[in-house]
């Protein structure tokens, strides 16, 4: 089974949803402006016209149902089970531990631990085009592991292990590119980490040094 590219998954859906939303908004805005201008009147005469039309309403409801069906189909087709990432090689395991208000990233395969402290913002180092298997947990309250660049977040809970996979498809150094997305108390807004996505040879070199 191929892993998921969360970023592609997001944009596949987003690129269809937002133009539809914008189009619907513009149609309604246009209709309100047009009807407002067309039917503005000071006349106190009561207009003639039908108050309901069952065929029109059923037809319209069917159109809406078709739109809903299309959106649901698109969404479902881009959910787990539809993996498409360009990932090769051995997956990398990373254990994420969140605690108020910092992060720890453990690489069991490498015997390396990146521990954030008050003085040190932790760095999540990952190879690109490789499946990363995360196991996340919290030591206190609920936190959420959020990497905006990859368009993905996953909550981590106390006394529970949450698993998820990600593939980073472009190298890059994202300072402040990781955040805690679930409000966790006093210093929630400072609970950041940096994301360093490295080409695979570079990651291998770093891993040898880390070991």
């Amino acid at each position: 089974m191929k892993p998921i590219d969360t970023r592609n998954q997001f944009f596949d859906v987003w690129n269809v949803y937002w133009p539809i939303a914008l189009a619907v908004f513009l149609v309604v805005l246009g209709a309100v402006v047009f009807l407002g201008l067309r039917y503005r009147s000071r006349s106190r005469e009561i207009p003639r016209g039908k108050d309901e039309s069952t065929p029109v309403e059923i037809g319209y409801a069917l159109v809406l149902a078709c739109i809903a069906a299309f959106l649901v189909f698109l969404t479902f087709s881009r959910m787990p089970g539809s993996e498409d990432a360009n990932a090769t090689g051995k997956p990398v395991d990373i254990r994420v531990t969140a605690a108020r208000w910092n992060w720890r990233f453990e690489y069991p395969g490498l015997g390396f631990v990146e521990q954030g402290t008050r003085q040190h913002i932790p760095v999540l180092r990952v190879p690109v085009d490789t499946e990363i298997e995360f196991t996340g947990s919290s030591l206190d309250v609920i936190h959420s592991f959020f990497v905006p660049e990859e368009r993905f977040k996953r909550d981590v809970f106390p006394s529970q292990h949450t698993r998820w996979e990600m593939v980073f498809d472009a190298p890059g150094n994202h300072v402040g590119g990781g955040e805690c997305a679930e409000f966790c108390g006093l210093e929630h807004s400072n609970m950041n980490f940096d994301v360093l996505a490295m080409p695979r040879p570079e990651f291998a070199r770093w891993a040898r040094g880390a070991r």
């Binding site: 949803y17 309604v28 108050d51 959910m79 309250v141 997305a181």
Partner: protein, 552 residues
């Protein structure tokens, strides 16, 4: 004063609830302004992180528990009996007790600020275990839990009274399908309250037991997820509770100001019922990022909501088509509701898709989304209702020019404040943060948003001036200044203690409109004099200006 506070008259209970809730809206708004001022640029300006956390917790809690939910019930308690031709409320003391619980709960919640550790600071959702005694100790948090129980029980009691009234006290001829749209929307709302609110009350009681050391949610590793299920089983219906009645108000306003019956009345009623039924099965969409709910199921149920919502929108537009439209202030606010709420609805369909929600959940995108439903929906709908019914409650008109200025400021403010938040959220700015890093370049968008927030504040200020002025100096009007369609306009303004001297025949959901259509004067029918039959010339003039505003 004592008479006012202990009256069993539904109009007094309704007005008391509405005015009290509106005061909480002003306070909650002031908290929001403080936060927007702090967020205008990176770095902590004048707040500490702890204070910021208290502010957003109390802002959200105030707006839901103490403003939005009570206010829609307050308006309902005043106008539903009038719309169904009832002389009183069934179980008025239950409703009065509800008011007292809600008001006392509000005072209790705010008294948290006077305690040593301050008010609650775990967000309006109080997620467990952040809300346990370990992570958030302090009496202020205990007060918060108790206050939520009180305020929510208050709203529940008022709903029970309203439900009884609708079932038992309808006027002769007022069958269910002849009840006006607003009454229907309140009825459907009351069902959601009665289904969802008890769950929150029990959940809060369990949370407090856990805070006192009894292992409830803390007794199992899944407890924190269980809490979320229980909370959102209340928490999602409540967001429909706070805008449904306003869909009804807006529908009636559009119909009245287009001089037509609401188009597709029966289909709209059906869609309201379907909407509320499905609303009980969508709570899990708040929990996609936990990956511990059936994401596909909740995505499906949430997306399907676009069908009934779309039918309601069709009704709004089809009613305008072919009408004779007047753009007085209630109509402007109604159109503001239609457009702004649409932004909330369309982005709501987006967040119902898990692949999108994995990114935007808990970011400013979601903040923007629900402010278009709550500000664009609830607040605009409420302002429409206030401008529509103020003459009924007081016998005086609000000043039309100030009303239009309020509308302009609020409408522009709603766009300037919340549109930038969509971009900020897409770029990864999370919600509930007291500060953000300068390196993200979010300063200019945040500054724009803050300017928008102060524009809204100015609009609210203009409204308050209008309110104070018009209470004393507003133009006096008779029973029916707008040529309304429903029974509340067939009595004096304000209505007498038992509401009606006589009732016109009720043959549809628009009894007054029926008479007018037959060329009769509905007011003469019930023996009332007609003070004011056509709008004065000053109103005509400002109507032109308002149209420019809408079109421009």
């Amino acid at each position: 004063m004592t008479a006012l506070l202990s009256s069993t008259d539904h109009k007094r209970i309704g007005l008391l609830t509405t005015v009290t809730a509106f005061c909480f809206f002003l306070v909650g708004g002031a908290l929001a302004l403080t936060m927007r001022a702090e967020l205008q640029k990176p770095g902590m300006q004048f707040l500490t992180e702890h204070t910021y956390n208290e502010l957003f917790t109390m802002h959200g809690s105030t707006m839901f528990y103490l403003f939005a939910a009570p206010v829609v019930l307050g308006v309902g308690l005043y106008f539903v009996p009038l719309q169904i031709g009832a002389a009183r409320l069934l179980w008025p003391r239950t409703a009065l007790l509800g008011y007292w619980l809600f008001a006392a709960g509000g005072v209790l919640m705010y008294s948290g600020f006077l305690t040593q550790q301050g008010a609650a600071s775990f967000g309006w959702t109080a997620y467990f275990p952040l809300s346990d005694a370990n992570a958030t100790p302090g009496v202020g948090a205990d007060f918060w839990v108790l206050a939520v129980i009180m305020a929510t029980t208050g709203v529940l009691l008022q709903s029970v009274s309203l439900l009884g009234t609708i079932v038992r006290l309808r006027a002769p001829g007022m069958t269910m399908l002849r009840m006006p749209l607003f009454t229907w929307s309140e009825l459907v709302t009351v069902f959601m309250v009665i289904t969802g609110f008890p769950v929150l009350i029990v959940t809060m009681a369990l949370l407090q037991m856990d805070r006192e050391g009894v292992g409830i949610f803390s007794s199992s590793p899944e407890g924190s997820v269980t809490y979320q299920h229980l909370f959102w089983f209340y928490g999602h219906p409540v967001v429909y509770v706070v805008f449904f009645p306003l869909v009804g108000v807006v529908g009636e306003i559009i119909a009245t100001f287009a001089r037509r019956r609401f188009f597709g009345f029966r289909v709209t009623i059906l869609s309201l019922i379907a909407f509320s039924a499905i609303s009980m099965a969508v709570w899990g969409h708040h929990m996609f990022a936990t990956n511990q709910v059936s994401n596909r199921y909740f995505s499906l149920t949430s997306t399907i909501l676009l069908v009934p919502a779309g039918i309601e929108y069709f009704g709004f537009l089809a009613t305008m088509a072919g009408g004779r439209i007047r753009f007085a202030s209630p109509m402007l606010f109604a159109i503001g509701f239609v457009l702004l709420f649409l932004i909330g609805g369309l982005t709501g369909i987006m967040v119902a898709s898990p692949p999108l929600d994995y990114h935007v959940h808990d970011t400013y995108f979601v903040v923007a989304h629900f402010h278009y439903t709550l500000f664009g929906g609830t607040v605009f709908g409420l302002f429409a209702a206030i401008h529509y019914w103020f003459p009924k409650v007081t016998g005086r008109l609000l000043d039309e020019r100030l009303a239009k200025a309020t509308f302009g400021l609020l409408f522009v403010g709603a766009l300037v404040t919340f549109i930038p938040m969509f971009i900020l959220g897409s770029e990864g700015m999370t919600r509930r943060v007291a500060d953000y890093l300068p390196l993200h370049n979010w300063t200019s968008l945040n500054t724009i948003s803050t300017i928008g927030a102060f524009t809204i504040a100015l609009g609210v200020l203009v409204f308050l001036v209008n309110l104070m002025r018009s209470l004393r100096l507003g133009e006096r009007v008779g029973p029916d200044p707008w040529e309304g369609q429903t029974l509340e306009w067939a009595t004096t303004s304000p209505p007498p203690r038992h509401n009606f001297a006589a009732l016109p025949p009720v043959r549809s959901h628009t009894p007054l409109f029926d008479l007018r259509e037959e060329g009769e004067d509905p007011l003469r029918e019930v023996g009332l004099p007609r003070y004011r039959s056509s709008p004065s010339s000053s109103e005509e003039k400002s109507e032109n200006e308002a149209t420019k505003e809408v079109v421009g």
